[in-house]
């Protein structure tokens, strides 16, 4: 059956192109103006890389990038381990304990960020802990764990309980059973949980803003507190967009390539 290119077809493609243009407009805009030779965000004065050079000379900005990456790596590492182990434990717990724990687990996901943020700030203030990179990291771990659990839990439900039981019967201790039997079966879910946790931590502003104190700031806080418009931010955004695109393309390509390889081996 030949599909006719009706006016309706043109309309729907045109509409989707407009929506994509809207969504990509600011991203392309900063990419173009990151190479602008003047400070203007209105007229393009010619090609230059001066904002990239300035970015690498801007101590405050570089520091904020470093803190962002450091906190995101620690938060991802801790929350992935704690979240995965907790999910496995909860999946074997009594239904009542499990459902209460999962309800609480959902709170940071459902609550507005600002509520989570001030609740943690009040906690740190009332036990008189100075807000610093430590409280910032604790806060990040706290809001990252739920995403790991939400990602791992559905996969665990599909597992056959008997396999872990068999491992225990054959003399494995629980940690061995965990590492050798359960985790290999669910690692794609763990990886995607870790990826979500990393991006949540990397992009967070609100919770960091209330829990970090004065001497530490991440990228979002740096951009928020900037007094004047600084085109180096365009350079930074461009680098982040390129990095995110590469990571996402790789994350989508690797499973596809693996699948192709597996299929080849089958033949």
């Amino acid at each position: 059956m030949e599909r006719k290119k009706s006016p309706w077809h043109f309309f729907s493609s045109g509409y989707l192109i407009l929506v994509l243009a809207f969504i990509y407009l600011p991203i392309l805009y900063v990419m173009v103006f990151s190479f602008n030779d003047s400070k203007s965000m209105i007229s393009f004065a010619g090609f230059s890389t001066r904002w990239y050079e300035e970015m690498f000379e801007n101590r405050e900005m570089l520091e904020s990038i470093w803190y962002t990456v450091l906190v995101a790596l620690i938060a991802t590492g801790v929350s992935t381990v704690v979240g995965t182990v907790a999910a496995i434990g909860l999946s074997k717990a009594r239904p009542l304990v499990r459902s209460i724990a999962l309800e609480v687990n959902n709170l940071p996901v459902l609550n507005p960020d600002i509520v989570t943020a001030i609740s943690l700030m009040l906690l740190f203030l009332s036990v008189k802990v100075q807000r610093s990179i430590v409280t910032l990291t604790l806060a990040h771990i706290t809001f990252c764990i739920p995403y790991v659990i939400l990602s791992v839990m559905p996969k665990l439900r599909q597992l056959d309980d008997n396999v872990a039981e068999a491992a225990l019967d054959l003399g494995a201790n629980p940690w061995q059973a965990l590492l050798k039997v359960i985790i290999p079966q669910i690692y794609p879910a763990i990886l995607s949980g870790a990826l979500i946790a990393f991006s949540m931590s990397f992009d967070d502003f609100v919770i960091s803003f209330f829990t970090a104190g004065v001497d530490v700031q991440n990228i979002s806080m740096y951009v928020y507190s900037m007094k004047r418009f600084n085109p180096s931010v365009n350079a930074l955004s461009t680098l982040i967009v390129v990095a995110v695109t590469l990571i996402l393309v790789l994350a989508n390509l690797i499973p596809a390539l693996k699948e192709r390889k597996n299929k080849k081996e089958e033949f």
């Binding site: 600011p26 103006f33 609480v104 600002i114 502003f205 951009v223």
Partner: protein, 259 residues
């Protein structure tokens, strides 16, 4: 299996300390006044009556609800046709489109909002319009993806049956596709309206200093005025409004399912 259960204990301690206890702190601060001793609390509803008796605060609440509502409506109006058109594409293009819509969601929201500040500098617009554009921009992909998921799940045979029974394209859309995609719209609303009500970055960066939403109010009372009791009360009021609206949308979802 007991030994596995034990593995979740550290996590249970963690959520008790860092999720449950902090939530109680908000409640405690909202229901007391400052200058309390650590052991003796005098409970009071003063913070709440202060909020509801001052027209300034009520106006801020009204502005937040209005802009969140408008943002949600426009996300549905722009997003629904987009989701429908995507669902009609061949499968490979659908995957590409969802990937293209997901990609910007992974990019720091502050940087995107900052980019809009650069773009909107070129135009002479009211702050409310700028904030509105920023919000629709930020939340539109979530709405499209939610509705698209609902439409893509729809059984194609239902559409064929509808055509066979003599309904035209338009009638099939109104009687089959639209009602069956309501769950997608509902989950889209929760992903748009709730964060929009509490948003405080977009109004601050795009609206300039004079556009205040309830999130900005909470920020001011916590970080500038240092009045944590009143700040906690405001966030509790906001949380209650959000819970209520979530309950109402869920109820709406159920009643459409029954219909």
């Amino acid at each position: 299996m007991k030994s596995f259960v034990r593995m979740s204990y550290p996590y249970l301690v963690w959520i008790a300390l860092f999720i449950v206890a902090p939530m109680f702190m908000i409640l405690l601060y909202a229901l007391t006044r400052s200058g309390n001793g650590t052991i003796t609390f005098k409970f009071t509803l003063e913070n709440f009556s202060r909020f509801f008796s001052d027209p300034t605060f009520l106006r801020v609440l009204w502005t937040s609800l209005r802009i969140a509502f408008l943002t949600t409506v426009f996300c549905i109006l722009i997003g629904y046709p987009a989701a429908l058109f995507i669902a009609n594409l061949p499968e490979k293009r659908q995957t590409l489109m969802t990937l293209l819509l997901t990609l910007p969601m992974w990019i720091n929201m502050l940087l995107k909002t900052y980019a809009w500040r650069g773009i909107l500098m070129n135009f002479d617009l009211e702050s409310e319009i700028k904030v509105f554009i920023g919000m629709v921009y930020d939340f539109l992909p979530y709405m499209i993806l939610q509705i698209h998921t609902a439409i893509a799940k729809l059984d194609r045979n239902l559409l064929v049956a509808s055509y066979d029974l003599g309904a035209n394209k338009w009638k099939t859309f109104l009687k089959v596709t639209l009602p069956l995609s309501v769950p997608g719209i509902i989950s889209g609303i929760t992903l748009v309206f709730l964060p929009a009500v509490s948003s405080f970055v977009i109004p601050k960066l795009l609206g300039g200093g004079n556009y205040v939403l309830i999130g900005n109010l909470i920020e001011t009372y916590f970080l500038v005025a240092g009045d944590w009791n009143f700040g906690s009360a405001i966030s509790l009021i906001m949380a209650l409004i959000i819970i209520l609206s979530m309950y109402l949308t869920r109820k709406m979802d159920r009643s459409t399912e029954e219909a």
